[in-house]
């Protein structure tokens, strides 16, 4: 008999009753150090007082009005995102998938508005993940997630991640945009080289394409900068962000330049819940913390510490681990053993991690972790690896 909750997830028999900073407390009393963060969502950890206060206060005022009316908190958040990014304008939605879907629509509308409606195809990269809607599944092109959902949404081509020759050869008169994650998360924590990101900009300009970065997972400070592409010193035309933006409150955003968004006029796109007062209050509170002086610098510092520790861990356990990879606090351990066995063992010992493609264990801790948490996580992984190697 089917469960009341549609059985689309393979769930662990584990539930949490509360969280505090980087820790989660299970209903059976066990404490876990959370290096999964709800899959890179809880950027400020659990029960962050500033966020709790912002949400509670907003909940007492107004939850939802629809976008038929002005939403002051939405305008404020949009202005802050614009002020701190390449973008001139922002559309708010409820998830990363919706943010990517909006990005694709913005790109298609741009070309339609430019008198080149035949340019509708988007080139994506093998190994990417952009969400679970029909269009974003097609954009990623991963057969594992597409299987059984035919027909596949038309209009997407795929090239190897990081290969410029292949990208150039794939461009046709129908190509509208290039869609790339600066750090592939689900695909196995694969950071694009900074040169690759720069060359993507050059190729997009050469062929008149729009460049879309999917920073749903790697953005919002996770790389040590507000957005990961900033490390490369280039800007996209459109960007999707979500996850850390709401720290667990469902919110996504599609950011664009004025030029790219020229077709997005009244009625061209919408979202019932997108940008509602509750989500905006939380996201503004997240930005209060992330944009505070010194916050991103501390993220970068602790990330480098964790990176060094993970590299040493790999050397200590060559039978279990193949390599450490990633950028900032979106890190991965490529395994010789099956990655799920390490995820399970670490969880058993009190550390939450999450699997990713290419047999990688993903480490996406809250950005608020300190050296002590790094030490605790690495010590737990040490024990887990030792037990698996035994």
């Amino acid at each position: 008999m089917i469960s009341a909750v549609m059985p689309t997830y393979g769930r662990y028999d584990l539930a949490f009753e509360r969280g505090e900073g980087p820790y989660l407390f299970a209903t059976d009393g066990r404490r876990f150090l959370d290096f999964a963060s709800g899959i890179a969502v809880n950027a400020l950890g659990h029960s962050h007082p500033h966020l709790v206060k912002a949400l509670s206060e907003q909940a007492k005022r107004v939850w939802h009005t629809s976008n038929l009316y002005r939403i002051p908190e939405q305008e404020r958040l949009a202005e802050r995102l614009v002020e701190n990014s390449f973008a001139d304008t922002v559309f708010f939605c409820n998830s990363g998938a919706e943010a990517v879907e909006c990005s694709i629509k913005v790109a298609r509308k741009y070309h339609d508005e430019s008198g080149t409606p035949e340019r509708y195809r988007v080139i994506g990269c093998a190994g990417s993940f952009h969400g679970r809607t029909l269009a974003t599944l097609a954009a990623a092109g991963n057969e594992k997630y597409l299987k059984g959902f035919d027909p596949i949404v038309e209009g997407f081509d795929h090239v190897a991640f990081g290969n410029l020759n292949e990208l150039r050869a794939a461009i046709t008169p129908e190509t509208a945009a290039i869609l790339v994650e600066p750090v592939q998360g689900e695909g196995g924590i694969r950071p694009a080289s900074l040169d690759y990101l720069r060359q993507l900009r050059a190729v997009a300009d050469e062929f008149g394409l729009l460049l879309i970065f999917d920073e749903v997972q790697c953005g919002m400070g996770r790389s040590g900068k507000l957005f990961a592409h900033e490390w490369a010193g280039v800007t996209p035309d459109i960007m999707a962000t979500a996850k850390g933006l709401g720290n667990g409150f469902p919110v996504g955003a599609c950011l664009a330049t004025e030029r790219a968004a020229k077709g997005m006029t009244a009625g061209s796109h919408g979202s019932t819940f997108g940008g509602n007062p509750l989500a905006m209050a939380v996201a503004n509170a997240v930005l209060d913390v992330v944009l505070a002086d010194g916050f991103l610098g501390r993220v970068d510092k602790v990330a480098r510490r964790l990176w060094r520790e993970l590299e040493a861990l790999v050397k200590r356990h060559p039978k279990v681990l193949a390599e450490a990879r990633g950028a900032g606090l979106i890190l991965g351990l490529k395994c010789h053993v099956t990655n799920t066995t390490l995820v399970d063992k670490a969880r058993e010992l009190g550390l939450l991690t999450v699997g990713a493609g290419e047999n990688v264990v993903r480490l996406v801790p809250p950005l608020i972790i300190e050296d002590a948490h790094v030490q605790e996580a690495v010590a737990t992984l040490d024990r887990a690896c030792a037990q698996l190697a035994a």
Binding site: V159, N163, T172
Partner: protein
Amino acid sequence: MSVPSAASPKHFIDLDGFDTATLRHILKDGVSYKKGDIDPAKQQPLSGKTLAMIFEKPSTRTRVSFDVAMRKLGGETVVLSSNELQTGRGETLADTARVLSRYVDAIMMRTYQPWKLHEMAAYATIPVINGLTDSSHPCQLMADVMTYEEHRGAIAGRVVAWSGDGNNVASSWVHAAVRFNFELKLACPEMLMPPEALLRWARDQGGRVSVTHDPAAAVKGADCVVTDTWVSMDRDATKGETRHNLLAPYRVDDRLMGLAKPDAVFMHCLPAHRGEEVTASVLDGPQSLVWDEAENRLHVQKAILAWCLA
């Protein structure tokens, strides 16, 4: 895209589209033209025929060798640049192909994006020859195989090492490796690899094509070492410092050549930039076949033209 159903002319697009016997037949004729066994001066097989040559990219060898080859075979050429054609003002390639098919007997096209060549071939009712695209350079490879065999005998079973950009010429080397049954070891930077789909095609065909990021590993024990310029033509978004940094470890110098077999040859489709992708000592050294390689473009192109227009 709908494609006309008229009987297909004999295009020369990419080596993967041919069987080995046809390519061998063309090569054999190329050798005969060079040796004088087939004397164009007497036979003039393309007398009365006209070849339109469309250039979107600059060209030395392709332009001159096709022009001279056509004339040697008794034909004539019309040289067109995209600036001079109405395509520059929005006429479709399909319409251009239809019209040119009424004026001339074959089209040689040198363009950036492969779709343009395929579009031309889809709508032309006369042969279309690939004079180079961003994806491939099959005429060059025919000359390269001819040149290798001229100096070292059958290429089948030999090991060819490519060190550098996994570009259009490298892609045609992949096609050639499968069709002419030699082993190809490519050494390319990760950002400049040949397309994954092409490598998959080679594997599916049973081709012995491998890729590494280590030039020494690719070149070790090779019979032939090949490279190409780092910055191709006048248009390339990836040119500049990045490209030089990526490709510097792939430069073919005496040390790298020393890892190949003692009688290994060096090939390069030219233009070459001494001190960049290859040192002067290699390019101008005793193992270099580059000038014969350039000359053989002429002879093999006579054979390609004759085959297309036969």
